[in-house]
Symmetry: C2
Subunit: 444 residues, 2 copies
Amino acid sequence: MRMAHLITNCSFSASPAVKAPTRSTSYCCNFVQLQNSKPSNLFNKSCSMKQRKSYVIRASAAVQGQTQTPLTGSQEASAHSSSKPKKVMVIGGDGYCGWATALHLSNKGYEVAIVDNLVRRLYDHQLGLDSLTPITSIQNRVRRWKALTGKTIQLYVGDICDFEFLSEAFKSFEPDAAVHFGEQRSAPYSMIDRSRAVYTQHNNVIGTLNVLFAIKEYSEECHLVKLGTMGEYGTPNIDIEEGFITITHNGRTDTLPYPKQASSFYHLSKVHDSHNIAFTCKAWGIRATDLNQGVVYGLKTDETAMHEELSNRFDYDAVFGTALNRFCVQAAVGHPLTVYGKGGQVCEIIHLKFVLCNLFIIKLAIANPAKPGEFRVFNQFTEQFSVNELAKLVTAAGAKLGLDVQTKSVPNPRVEAEEHYYNAKHTKLIELGLVPHLLSGLAT
Amino acid sequence: MRMAHLITNCSFSASPAVKAPTRSTSYCCNFVQLQNSKPSNLFNKSCSMKQRKSYVIRASAAVQGQTQTPLTGSQEASAHSSSKPKKVMVIGGDGYCGWATALHLSNKGYEVAIVDNLVRRLYDHQLGLDSLTPITSIQNRVRRWKALTGKTIQLYVGDICDFEFLSEAFKSFEPDAAVHFGEQRSAPYSMIDRSRAVYTQHNNVIGTLNVLFAIKEYSEECHLVKLGTMGEYGTPNIDIEEGFITITHNGRTDTLPYPKQASSFYHLSKVHDSHNIAFTCKAWGIRATDLNQGVVYGLKTDETAMHEELSNRFDYDAVFGTALNRFCVQAAVGHPLTVYGKGGQVCEIIHLKFVLCNLFIIKLAIANPAKPGEFRVFNQFTEQFSVNELAKLVTAAGAKLGLDVQTKSVPNPRVEAEEHYYNAKHTKLIELGLVPHLLSGLAT
């Protein structure tokens, strides 16, 4: 209970670690509205009635090499129109982000399939870890969802590095979109030893290659939403753009992929994925969105809160626990917050609910399909703070609950700059119609 | 015989495909001098007698983040001094570049070990291909070398993706430097099907990861010379720098890795390698040189010409044959030269003998060790021509031999720009002391 209150009470305002440009760097997806509002209230810039319910999302940002055209369509109607519901394959759908995403998409009327080999649960067994929140089996999870909502989530249990298995899943389900969370996603895990470094890069890179080949061979129109990471960029001494940067050099100009400087074998695997995906967009006409996601925090979404059997996992250990989640647990149990080194490292954060922005991206992809070969990159985070600032916020929230939260600096196990310039853009999603909204009040 | 004469007769002069900067873009390593001259004639900028023979190599170029200090040392003496000869592990030493390199290093007094799983020969069996020049087994090759020169080349036959095997090789041999050619190096091979795309990326990326871990665990001072490829850069509309580019963006400046845009799963695997290596330099203090090599052509080196059993392989097929080699064979047999598409694609080329410039780099690495964590990148090619220009050169050379060489355009099986701006720098090796020398007269 304490930890849930800690997350609720953290009041995040715009106080980035470094001098920011004049535009606000603090915003949140208007997620409450996305969930609760009737579509006609939601996107109100202009209306054109196409189907029973419809709206227009202002979409003025140009994606790389493309001119974005205004999106027309409907929200739930896109899933419940007279045509069949759109199908979304959630790869890694048993995990922290994937499970929340799968439920939310199903709740919004999409036909959902989860593809997962459940290896995330094996890591826990191997390392002697466990979720803080009890979670049931994936089979019980989808059964409970069906019992509560009448909605079916299909389940394909297997390894996407096994192309025979993945082929069968694609041929059977025929996805319109695929959201790919199915990777070993812990930097510390990838750095434990050679075996896990190699496993991480093999699993992640080959898994993504297989997904690309499956799309090419079985579902050419399928839009891939791939989870990348802000960590691909490293900590350059210049502003971080969204995926691409325009460079003028020796009198000539080009817009090129933003240089990558990853700081773990896990982050490197995401860099490799991004390069592979960009190539297949060009070579095969694959449509893909690379979401360079910030560090996810938070405990519940509306769907996972519906029943204890739908509960999401919550990790707080040193391998899988993300910074803010870990600090909240440490504060709740009276353990000093463990700040690595000087604590000046900048963290871009995003609440679990806002991870569900990928719903927006999927709608965008389905209602306004990307042109073949279009490779979009979004930096998906809501705010950026230094680790020290996160610690202070948790300390302040803890104080409101009567907790005396301490902080201590521990030797940094990572190879990273502990104080650095950091200014990353993350405006494309807003420009495509997501409405900024302050974080406070939306936590938990 | 015709083909050998074709390569000899091609007269390459500075006529790049695109408008070049005023500095000469055509130079060759002064390789004849490196082989024939006494050291005292070779590097004549200044002399300081350190050992029996010594020289100073002018080294004014700064590598990324480092200030290069003048090199003092000796050439053969570095290998024949009173201390033990330096050890170089040639990974992929049974292949086109690797075999020539292994012999040359051995001839120059280094203690050499070849590490190879011989899978290159298996590709031939699988695809029904073969070397144009008969080659004997690796065991016969090293036996013949021993018989002729008295020099031993150690042989470790196994897969570098097998870390147990690689560990034993490192622990047994204790290399001072490792030259890593041991990858699946054909773009067309990597694009045949999913299985070979996956194989290429797994083999190349995991193999290199294992080499990095082996250096870290067993030979911390070992300098890695890694064969990259110019193809990592793609065809940007700006000048291509050597590994890094200084960008000024929104009022701030940083020198960052040059953006990569590879055009095959093979080229992508090299991009992944470069990112992985750069990270380990920073994280572990690995010393590495990434050689972004151009397209290799040519048939013989002085060592491979010593005996038929030392003969190097020569590939002219569509999978492993490189452009200029293929054109020479096509001309010799009366087959039209097969130009892909419009033929405007720019090719950076390097004669096989000049691949042996890595000897220079190894000497540089051993005599003037890179600082821990130093990641050097060189663009290693001698000239750049469009495919059309290569075809014209071969046609002209053929005419001198009385051959009526035709050219035809065939549909381009590759996804690549067929006409594009291209201006790549390749000056760092010259600035470090390699003396430019025209190519004509050195071929074959």
